[in-house]
């Protein structure tokens, strides 16, 4: 299922041009799309850099597939989209240099 709702402007989880931590947590737990702010569908898409794809851990929150494609064009969070059925939401540890939470897709369907 893909989103029929257009991306909000600015995107829901990027209200000031960069990722808002509170919105990221909200997206992760409420299961809403970081692009349009409405309920996620299936599959769930993650947008990230090649590095994020390689380590299977993303900083950008879950997205609708259509929102991920639209956001990919803006270059806001990388150029790779990975589709998954589910994900783990990973909170940062005290010794992590990067204190942003990450998302680990746990049932990858494939690249979009």
């Amino acid at each position: 299922m893909t989103s029929s709702v257009p991306l909000t402007s600015p995107p829901f989880a990027w209200p000031h041009g960069s990722l808002d931590k509170g919105k990221v947590v909200q997206c992760a737990l409420s299961r809403v799309c970081g692009g349009c702010g409405t309920s996620l569908g299936r599959p769930i898409a993650f947008l990230g850099t090649t590095e994020e794809v390689d380590r299977n851990a993303f900083h950008a929150p879950p997205l609708h597939e259509a929102c991920a494609r639209a956001l990919r064009e803006t270059g806001i969070a990388g150029a790779s989209v990975v589709l998954t059925a589910g994900f783990e939401y990973v909170r940062p540890t005290a010794d992590a240099l990067d204190r942003r939470p990450t998302f680990v897709p746990n049932s990858i369907i494939g690249p979009a």
Binding site: L29, R31, L40, A85, F87, E88, R91, T93, A94, R99
Partner: protein, 402 residues
Amino acid sequence: MAIADVAEYAHLTKDEVEQLGREFDAIRAEIEESRGAKDAAYINKVITTQRWMAAGARIGMIVSSPFPRARKPVLAASAVTLGLAKILENMEIGHNVMHGQWDWMNDPEIHSSTWEWDTGQPAEQWKHSHNYIHHQFTNVLGVDNDIGYGVLRMAREQKWTPVALGQPVYNALLAALFQWGVALHDLDLEAIRKGQKDPEEMKRQLKQIAKKGRNQILKDYVLYPALSGKEWKSTIKANATANLMRNIWSYLIIFCGHFPDGALHFTEEELEDETRAEWYLRQIFGTANIEGGPLFHVMSGNLSYQIEHHLFPDLPSNRYAEISPRVQALCEKYGIPYSSGPLHRQYGQVLRTVMKLSLPNKMTKDDRPPTGADITIEHRRKAEEERQIRRTELGGWSRSAS
């Protein structure tokens, strides 16, 4: 109180807190790696059982109509079976599916984005009020709407008004009508009372609730009674009984998971940059388990393992039983409390809190560690400029520096 002020946590150093976090991480990783076909078979079996129970109950109500002798016992059995089916659907299936516990199966039906449950609250609103607000801000006064559901005063830090005198009555009404209390949960009644709710958002949510509520009422009080012909009144009574059973049971499990004496309340300070280990600790301090047998745990949606559920809300619920002794052992090893007790004891403490807090603080004695002397918490998230800048140091340093 802030997590750093919890007395049971005070003896832990920063390194010990982080080590405890790593031990919980290891449990989590182990379950994630081992989940598979056996877990999938479990949830499929529960769903199949629940559907047969619901179907059998509905059919029983319809086919008993022409048989006057069998009608009463069949109706009674059907009402109880439907009540149990609704409990299973709401607690072990709907609640857990919407947490994303089964998303890894990639099943189009058993997925957090597609499940709509058999209760008055729309799934979308539940995922916001429960998965986000309640699980992220667990027992945080002024933010977590589960603290009294906007109706009850459940913490001494909540301001007392004469309205609280009616708490024993509101409590009984909330239990009996819990489905509708939950339906209004994400509206945030307190925010509406104070004029802090966005009117557009309120309108959108009310429309969603009205649509879902109408469908629930049509199903239980119009459609199925109509199928029972002239015995429609009996079917209405049986369905109302089933809904009452589910309401009281889910109220009991939810209240016993957060309001016995062992579960603490927190303030919003220090949560913004909370580390994973601190978050784990807050979940343990803010929750309480209920003891019982395997069937009791299934019927409670495994929320009787409330501590384990709050530590790992998106791990499959059928694994909480095996995690529980390990969590308990870790709590013992690090000298932190693991609040657990039988249903009657946990609910006794909840009821005592409801009664006591109907009165002003000066008339009663506190049963749990207070948030702070004479603190009254407003019901709203703090604005950015009101929040304290959080210290990143943990453990002994932050406590001694305060």
